[in-house]
């Protein structure tokens, strides 16, 4: 993905300076522009733009640059040492097919060590840094979202460096080391005539150089960067494009974000690594809330339940969950329960020779992955898969298999969606069914959820406590009252959103003669647009599955149902869209 290298450049009254770059440029690639006077390609460009300021201090601009092999260091310093008014914003430059991305940062305050203005000596060894720039170089066919991410990393490093510079002149000190190492090599080269990379010498002496090298290496391999600038400030970053890969496809960050914005309290968090492994990866100063969440999460608990168990606010749970998902440590699923129906994901790797197949057999000796996957060729509910005739221990084992398959993006869960479609009237053959106007949601308050379950025994999703203090907010329609005028009027209002023809057809259905049924139907009308699955309706309206199914059956002449995956969370199993 990236053809990066890392360069540090400084520019000032003595011109722009290249301090460090990684990977080192191979000397053989250098343009043979060597004149008789053996021009050292790493020599500092002393053709200053005359930026000498009145005070006589040699101010210079420092640029850290991640740079590509084809550009000479001198050119880079010229083009990447930006003007001050480009600071604090994204820097983007494209030259032929190389794209540079950075975040030039201004250092407002001069370092504490003041240079005496009365001192007439012209050259100072303590230059003042004005500006620095951390730049990445990428191939131009990089996705725009990759470029945004790299800019983000550049900005984070810049913030850390700016902070450390203000606190203890960290940058100045590191720059000095880099310059000194370069001067050393220059001298050596002049003497024996063979140019070599000074940057190799810098690495052992300069922590910042090592950090930058580490950032580069991490980006190219895992996509996760963790640095400690000056052994103090942590800079952490992950490149979603490298982390969220399913096979050869990656989940675009925008799709990920859309998904995360749409998750609901009835969804669940599924960790992709064991609790122990995850906890060991967390930094020492991580939030205790995160630890609590990881320890209490389970594939069978929805986020609402998790909030209660971990004693955290639901909003916090959402945030931490989103964070874990972003870092590729977890995915969002619907909590495991008996009625869940699963099927093979269209992108599942079912090859006999895949590494997945091998992992599976290691994890579950005596079973092979393709045989297990074949059982999900037709949609099968968890209850059916579990096979109650087996011993309970066996049951738990099979549940673990399903969890494993979900973690490895092999299964999709199917939900039932309902759509209201009234048979067209006879008199107006040209009349087409109108789209239902979007009715406002009624209630939507989070009500009781499935009770806490021990691992290995998912129960029916029906298992909800129907008596809860928060029930009072529910609309009056839930109260038995039969034909009260209030109830009747509410039903009428709800049905008013339909066309005359639709209303007539519905009222002619035998079940509509029962006011309770009609009332419930009217109340649920806004769910029948094909965008809300049964579990969502059950959660929002605090209904039992059997209740809902009976109602749907009674009104089946005007409803069309179908089963498919939940588009909100399907990206975790099928990244292609």
């Amino acid at each position: 993905m990236t053809d990066n290298s890392c360069t540090v450049i400084s520019s000032g009254s003595r011109g722009n300076k290249l301090l460090f770059r990684y990977p080192f440029q191979r000397v053989a690639e250098y343009p043979s522009s060597l004149t008789a006077k053996q021009r050292n390609p790493y020599a500092l460009n002393t053709a200053g733009d005359g930026l000498e300021d009145q005070d006589g201090d040699s101010r210079y601009k420092l640029c850290l640059i991640f740079l590509l092999k084809r550009f000479s260091d001198i050119i880079l310093s010229t083009i990447l040492a930006t003007k001050s008014d480009m600071c604090g914003k994204k820097f983007e430059l494209k030259i032929d097919n190389v794209r540079f991305v950075g975040h030039p940062t201004l250092l407002q305050h001069p370092p504490v060590i003041q240079v005496s203005k009365t001192d007439p000596s012209p050259k100072r060894e303590m230059p003042t840094m004005i500006l620095f720039n951390v730049v990445f170089a990428l191939r131009t066919n990089a996705d725009p979202s990759v470029i945004s991410c790299m800019h983000n990393l550049s900005r984070r490093i810049a913030i850390a460096l700016q902070h450390e510079e203000r606190r203890c002149q960290y940058l100045t000190r590191e720059a000095k080391l880099m310059l000194a190492a370069q001067d050393e090599i220059t001298t050596m080269t002049e003497m024996d005539g063979s140019p070599q990379s000074p940057f190799r010498q810098i690495l052992p002496k300069c922590k910042l150089a090592r950090d930058l090298k580490e950032a580069y290496d991490s980006l190219c391999t895992t996509g996760v960067v963790r640095l400690h600038i000056n052994n103090w400030l942590e800079v952490s970053f992950c490149l979603p494009h490298k982390i969220h890969r399913i096979g050869s496809n990656y989940i675009p960050p925008e799709a990920l974000e859309r998904s995360l914005k749409a998750i609901r309290p009835y969804h669940a968090l599924l960790l992709l690594e064991s609790e122990k492994a995850l906890l060991s990866q967390l930094p020492l100063d991580c939030s205790p809330a995160m630890v609590r969440l990881i320890k209490t999460s389970s594939a069978m608990k929805n986020l609402q339940q998790l909030a209660q168990d971990a004693d955290l606010a639901l909003l916090q749970i959402f945030q931490i969950a989103a964070h874990l998902v972003y870092w590729g440590k977890a995915i969002i699923i619907y909590p495991l329960c008996e009625n869940n129906v699963y099927m093979l994901s269209p992108h599942a790797n079912i090859s006999l020779y895949s590494p997945l197949a091998e992992h599976f057999t290691q994890h579950f000796p005596g079973y092979d992955l393709p045989s297990m996957l074949a059982k999900f060729s037709l949609p099968v509910s968890l209850a059916e898969f579990r096979n109650p005739l087996e011993a309970p221990a066996q049951e738990a084992y099979l549940i673990q298999m399903v969890v494993w398959m979900l973690q490895h993006h092999l299964l999709i869960q199917l939900h039932t969606y309902v759509c209201l479609l009234v048979p067209p009237s006879e008199e107006e053959p040209g009349l087409r069914d109108e789209d239902l106007p979007l009715a406002a949601r009624v209630g939507g308050r989070s009500l009781s959820t499935p009770s806490a379950l021990s691992f290995g025994s998912p129960t029916s999703s029906d298992d909800m406590t129907l008596t809860s203090p928060s029930m009072d907010n529910s609309s009056a329609e839930l109260l038995p009252g039969g034909d009260s005028p209030l109830n009747k009027r509410m039903t009428e209002t709800l049905l008013a959103s339909l066309s005359e023809h639709e209303r007539q057809v519905i009222l002619n259905i035998p079940a509509a003669q029962n006011p309770e049924d009609l009332r419930m139907f009217a109340r649920l009308l806004h769910y029948f647009r094909g965008h809300h699955h049964l579990e969502e309706i059950m959660y929002n309206e605090n209904m039992r599955r059997s209740q809902l199914k009976t109602l749907l059956d009674k009104f089946r002449s005007v409803l069309v149902v179908t089963n498919h995956e939940d588009p909100i969370i399907s990206i975790f199993q099928s990244p292609m869209e």
């Binding site: 000479s72 001198i74 050119i75 030259i95 032929d96 393709p370 074949a374 949609p379 089963n563």
Partner: protein, 377 residues
């Protein structure tokens, strides 16, 4: 399409240094902006003749700095840059070849007749730039005579994504009405296979019937795919199994897809199919249900609907997807050869295409083999 906000002509003036000589519209590039980016417009020698795009102050400037060295110029060199300005969010890849071409044109003009260094001809740049701006934004193309012997031809080419590999068991289907297709614009191979692209013949069949080599057919269809002229669906059989995708709801939400669908699937000469019938048919497709099953269960709804076109439309718009069968040989003797086709990587479609046996025959062979499991996905 990328919208060009401004075209500018910048040069190195012998006394004033880098400046913008002409820009349309006038005053678009502020003094401040130019100061910030001039180092990328009139550049050091190492950056000349490179396409440089710099983003600053909410704008993107794309240019290609040119340097022509000759004693006749003051300072012995002529430095200039004809560039475009767009909004910073614009994707400007398609504009790059245009900038490069323009710099080439101007270089030629200067070398041939001193177009830029002579004041009388340099003035002509302004109306040229105006026309370029107008026409490129309007139509994406511009043909402009400069003088008696030189004409500029420019066109914005949209870059498209690489098309997928076309397999012999894929079926190409036209995305638009076939009659709108101008045969003569395409190569001979494409012209030869055109009559056989009917949305039902797969690549292997097209190759056999059109008498064109298989790989040539694949490449020709891939080319059609690239330009969005066709899309690929799978072979139709009454034994096929399909299921709905979340996108099926768009039939309810999106009026234009509704219209398109009902027009497409209604049987020729019949009354227009109703949305309800068509939606019920799509929703009737599910794992375990073959098209044959659908036809018998929903015969009423199918009165005005052509089921083959129903499936075709559903696949083209991703309202439904095909469930393919993949045989996997899970138990085998240590001594026997490793499975070649029964690995879970090859579908029935592929196996039948490659080996020539029919579905039914393959089913019979595999049904009785206890070492083989079938996965549907």
């Amino acid at each position: 399409m990328a919208r060009i906000e401004c075209i500018f002509f910048s040069e190195f003036h012998p006394t004033l240094g880098p400046k913008i000589t002409y820009q349309v519209p006038e005053e678009y590039i502020s003094r401040e902006l130019f100061d910030t980016v001039q180092v990328y417009i009139i550049t050091k020698p190492e950056l000349q003749n490179k396409l440089i795009t710099v983003t600053a102050m909410g704008k993107k400037l794309i240019g290609c700095p040119v340097c022509i060295e000759h004693k006749k110029y003051s300072r012995n060199a002529l430095l200039f840059n004809l560039g475009l300005v767009c909004d910073a969010q614009t994707n400007t890849c398609a504009l790059e070849p245009i900038v490069k071409k323009l710099s080439g044109y101007l270089t030629t003009l200067e070398l041939e007749s001193g177009f830029i260094s002579k004041e009388e001809s340099k003035h002509k740049l302004l109306p040229i730039m105006s026309t370029l701006l107008e026409e490129l934004n309007a139509t994406g193309a511009c043909t402009l005579p400069i003088d008696e012997s030189n004409t500029i031809h420019l066109k914005l080419i949209q870059l498209r994504k690489d098309p997928p590999i076309v397999q012999e068991y894929d079926v190409p289907v036209f995305t638009q009405c076939k009659d709108h297709f101008i045969k003569s614009q395409w190569d001979l191979t494409t012209q030869q296979i055109l009559p056989y692209i009917d949305g039902f013949r797969h690549i292997q069949k097209i190759s056999a019937e059109a008498d064109v080599e298989l790989n040539l057919v694949r490449i020709a269809v891939q080319n059609l795919l690239y330009y969005g002229v066709v899309t690929l669906v799978s072979i139709f059989q009454y034994s096929n199994v399909y299921c709905t995708t979340p996108k099926v709801q768009s039939l309810i939400d999106d009026k234009s897809i509704q219209e398109e669908c009902l027009n497409y699937v209604t049987k020729q000469g019949h009354k227009r199919a109703s949305l309800r019938d068509v939606f019920q048919l799509y929703c009737g497709l599910s794992p375990g249900t073959t098209v044959r099953d659908l036809c018998s269960r929903y015969s009423l709804q199918l009165q005005n609907v052509d089921e083959r076109r129903l499936i075709q439309f559903g696949l083209m718009k991703s309202l439904i997807r095909r469930l393919q069968k993949y045989p996997v040989k899970v138990i085998r003797d240590e001594r026997s050869r490793p499975p070649r086709l029964y690995t879970g990587c090859h579908s029935y479609d592929e196996i039948c295409c490659k080996t020539g046996i029919t579905y039914k025959e393959l089913d019979e062979r595999l049904e009785n083999d206890s070492n083989i499991v079938i996965c549907w996905k």
